[in-house]
Amino acid sequence: MEKTITQKPDSKKQNLKIDSENDDESISKSLLKKFFIEVSSLTIFTLRFFREVLKPPYEFNELVKQSFLIGYKSLPLVAITGFIIGLVLTIQSRPTLAKFGAESWLPAMVAVSIIREIGPVITALIFAGKVGSGIGAELASMNVTEQIDAMQVSHTNPFKYLVVTRVISATVMLPLLVIFADAVGLFGSFIGVNLKGNVSAYLFFSQVFQSLEFKDLFPAIIKTFFFGFAIGLIGSYKGYNSNKGTEGVGKAANTAVVFGSLMIFIIDMIAVQITSLFQS
């Protein structure tokens, strides 16, 4: 604690210790209080989303525009990372499989890991970094510069216009991006397989599709809707409720990524429990 540094350690050691203990306690108390306030206001925000999403009027034009922007802007980044992940995963897995003489399993193994886990999670993390922070910063700066107030004066519900459209767009676009990333990842893997050895595209993809089952694909896609929803919602929440200062913009963008990424892992963990429940 900074306090202890500024004061002489020897003379007031006893006092300081008690002080800092009290401080620690009050800090952890206020942190706990902050946490519960945060959770409850996020819950209220989420409930408001569900209330407003059903009620007309619908901001259809803005929804289409946001979906386009959100999806299109992330496309190159998702493609590059998807390709590299597929390639690297293949190169890294080959020696282990070769040890067991199971090199022919390479396409199947990589396909399963990409589609079940790595494709959705990596794409969602990138999406949180790009789209989640973007939504957070955009809404926060609109908040600071009174653009949200101005919309309300123009007889527009800013929650519907800004938040609902972005959350829906994120929810719908992330699964599409994940499917795209999976496809590019498999292509990367195909290249990886052919760096050492010679496997035709037909053979590679027939092995991939033989190894995949509906129960791989379905839960993997379903969970990405939840990833997208969480990223869009947290980004919007952080931006919409940001402090009315310029520092609020950076903070909103930052916390949107941190909380968004954390939520991805939490949702992923829950999803794994649920799917294993159904599969056993």
């Binding site: 700066s141 653009q147 107030d149």
Partner: protein, 259 residues
Amino acid sequence: MTIVESSIEIKKDIKQNNSVVVEMRNLKKSFEKNHVLRDINLSINKGENLVILGQSGTGKSVLIKCIVGLVELDEGKLLIFGKDISELKNKELIEIRKKIGFLFQSGALYDSMTVRENLEFPLTRQLGSIPKEEMNSLIVEALTDVGLEEAIDKTPSELSGGMRKRLGLARTLILKPEIMLYDEPTTGLDPITSKEISRLILEVQKKYNTSSIIITHDIECAKLTANRIIVIKDGVCAAQGSYADLEKSADSWIRSFFE
């Protein structure tokens, strides 16, 4: 002040007193323990420019945000065009708010839209879909009013501070409001641009016969635009009068605004 001028003032006053457009009675607003507005009583007459002075953080912005419903009041009565807004149905409230323009302190321009789209937004939002030619002529007229015709295809980030303020004004004027609320229209501008904006406020008043509340720290702006001035201190109206009256006020704190 010459005799001729003051007689014009008196005539104006008589005409104005005929109709009060906004009236506040015992208005109170707190944010938790922060009692921002304690007891506000004021009224604006038709065609009048009312300037509100007060230190930063005294709740001037909160006061005018109450009028457009951005801030809900805790207690007191707010009458717009003689109607108590707490008794109005949603539809009537929307109709009344259409007649009120708000120029935000920061301009509140939509960064993601061009100048044209910034002007289209309030039009389509308030009036629904209107024919393209009509929309275009309204946009051109609003931009011409503020001398910004050439900037129509630019984005707000390409505009200077004065131009941004003027675009903000055009965006409010496009709906031909009867009441204009200006939140620090000249703050952050150089003296020459400030004067231009002040003149623009006067032109708007003349052309559209608007009644306005102008919040400002800029005493030059107050001098140019005010028909009447109200000073707010500690959440109440501490003084009111013409520029000349307040400039000679016995209270040194009030006089300090005019130095």
